[in-house]
Symmetry: C2
Subunit: 373 residues, 2 copies
DNA sequence: GCTCAATAATTTCCTTCGTCAAGTATTGAT
DNA sequence: ATCAATACTTGACGAAGGAAATTATTGAGC
């Protein structure tokens, strides 16, 4: 985050991260929370204030019995730096401009007529130009792509929807936009957003489940995102919950996705997705049963997550959840049945996230990279 | 590990850990592997040699084109310090004496006639006395207990088999034995052993599955053991793999344990476990199918682990695996069918571990605590 | 208003840890 | 014997954070 230095002192990163994710905090509070001395916090905060990332709020917090000098909380100056986040799907680019506090300031969609890498990069360049108001304060771009992505190198190993294989996306996007780029898998990016700026704040472990065409999951364990050794992690969609269930395109049987994915629901209901939703809402017993089975399967998959890694909190979201009124009770039922012992106490938030949230996730990853730099 | 200091320098811990887990290493190699300067390694190693934990081996390693000073690898002196590990089961104590290199030097079983805490502690005292030869070089004891254990405080929150609830085991055992005690869940202890001294060495992520009466799983992600926020983690046994499967005592349906646990096999085969094994080995089709279904269920559960956290390596083990010839192919079949994409590449070792291994796991945890101290 | 207790923030000094760069040690090849 | 190559050690230095004293800012009691 310092203009010159390659990497700032750990205390500086820790202070900035804490203020960013947990809101205004006084130096004493920060010291206690981070296990540092007050002196260390003072020293770490000074350059952050000088560089304009933090500011001192008016003394408001009162502590103790009443007496004592009031604390002056440190807050971020959200407009000090902006970040572009773009989710790349097969048929459009969804872009947002976020401030340092990860608030969305601007949001633009741009259709894609082709999956060709060069074409996408050109369109990306236009999108970024349209989003950025102040180039001097916007230096970073985060990209979110579905599939197997190596965040460290910015390489897209394989993205089935885009038909991309071994595309050095970071390098290419840096050339195309002139920004410092981070690339991450879309679900992981969304998980990061929720971990730093959403319901997962402060949780040592945390899971996010997305429901839609595919069913995915991002995991945070011991405060760190789980990436998976073989490029696979969070594939909740291909957990088998019914040995006698339908065959899945992955070769498995009774996968969550083969029961609860959008395509599965369409083929099982024999209707388009929207018609199925309407039929179920109108009380059609057969179609309702399809949604019920889907919700149960998802709940069962979520219970597997809870049983295995025991996250402190689970958020269920995704496009498919537009119809979440049809899913929710069944998801909870499946979860509660299959969660073992205390794992059933794990709070489950079921709520749809706006579609820009994916792009915001991408921006969040670039904020993280910025803070850590 | 220093007699006086509360906590040694991080570099010292890192050096000792690396030599302990990866065998003799020269200072240059250590420097490269740990991201330290050679000077730092020299400085960290000196006190460790002086205290007798490390020793310099004769120069043997030759590197490069031939010329150059030969490296003198650092190796641990395994007999510098001994550790007692005890696994507490409902009907016996299994104790081992390990050296610093986690080699078992001595192993004793001691039957338990009662589950009363005081009684168990008295027996533990006798066991420890029988195991220890040299009190001056044996200062630590690790305990492994099944159930919900808080390693940080040494509190056994709930152990179903022992009928213990909120037993401050560390405190009590320290009083009873005069040793510094660590308490850990049995599966996690075994996982730790395998991570530091077994097949999981060097892996950033790693999973161990135990098959027996219960079916459990220990996970290491990002180099750290997963503990679970609500005291639950690694409960692979209660992942649901068959919505129409048998009801499980946990309230779920089609849990891995309800299909593949020892009790499940006994009741499904209608024979004692040993008889069932013999029948299956003799070619009894019906009983073989029971084992096949059990293996498939386990494989399916393991695939869920691979899909979710993507460990670099998975080891399958446990008492029940005495009959692993009957399980192995089916475990692999279930795993390969249900593992998604590259997750199927995750190497799977299926092998029984000797029963003392559990006690060795307990000792390993105390070695870890010693090294980190 | 003055003083005191309580709490927050800063300053100064100091320790610790690890790096850098130069020097020493030990080998094989010529 | 000399040199190149590699391993290890040494000592000066610097960065980072801690301890404790100091300063700052408030409310309460008088």
């Amino acid at each position: 985050m310092l203009p010159e230095a390659e990497s700032a002192a750990p205390a500086m990163t820790a202070v900035l991260t804490a203020v960013l994710t947990e809101g205004p905090l006084s130096r004493v509070t920060l010291a206690r929370r981070l296990g540092l001395s007050q002196a260390a916090v003072t020293k770490a905060a000074r350059p952050l204030i000088e560089l304009g990332y933090l500011q001192e709020l008016a003394a408001t917090e009162r502590s103790g019995p009443g007496a004592g000098r009031p604390a002056s909380p440190l807050a971020i100056r959200a407009d000090r730096e902006f970040f572009v986040g773009v989710k790349i799907t097969a048929d459009e680019l969804i872009g947002v401009l976020c401030d340092l506090g990860a608030q969305v300031r601007k949001s633009i969609h741009r259709p894609l007529l082709d999956k060709d890498v060069d074409y996408v990069l050109t369109e990306l360049g236009h999108l970024v130009d349209d989003l950025i108001d102040d180039r001097s304060r916007t230096r970073r771009l985060g990209l979110a792509v579905s599939g197997d992505v190596d965040r460290a190198t910015g390489l897209v190993r394989y993205s089935p929807f885009l038909h991309w294989r071994d595309v050095p996306l970071r390098e290419l996007a840096e050339k195309a936009t002139g920004l410092t780029v981070t690339v991450e898998n879309d679900v992981k990016a969304l998980t990061t957003a929720e971990h730093w700026f959403g319901e997962g704040v402060g949780a040592e472990s945390f899971a996010l489940v997305t429901v839609g065409t595919g069913i995915g999951c991002g995991l945070v364990v011991n405060g760190r995102l789980v990436s998976g050794s073989h490029g696979v992690a969070g594939e909740i969609g291909h957990i088998g919950v019914d040995v006698n269930g339908p065959a899945c395109h992955c070769g498995g049987r009774g996968c969550v996705e083969a029961i609860a994915g959008t395509d599965a629901i369409v083929s099982r209901a024999g209707l388009s997705f929207d018609d199925a939703v309407n039929a179920a809402r109108a009380g059609d017993v057969r179609v309702s049963a399809v949604f019920a089975a889907a919700g149960e399967a998802i709940g069962c998959g979520i219970a597997a997550v809870a049983n295995l890694v025991g996250p402190a909190h689970i958020v269920v979201s995704g496009e498919g959840l537009a119809a979440y009124d049809l899913f929710e009770t069944h998801i909870r039922a499946g979860f509660e049945r299959q969660a073992f012992g205390a794992a059933a106490q794990c709070p489950l938030s079921v709520r749809p996230l706006p579609f820009e949230e994916w792009a915001r996730g991408a921006a969040t990853v670039s904020i993280q990279a910025f803070v850590a730099s």
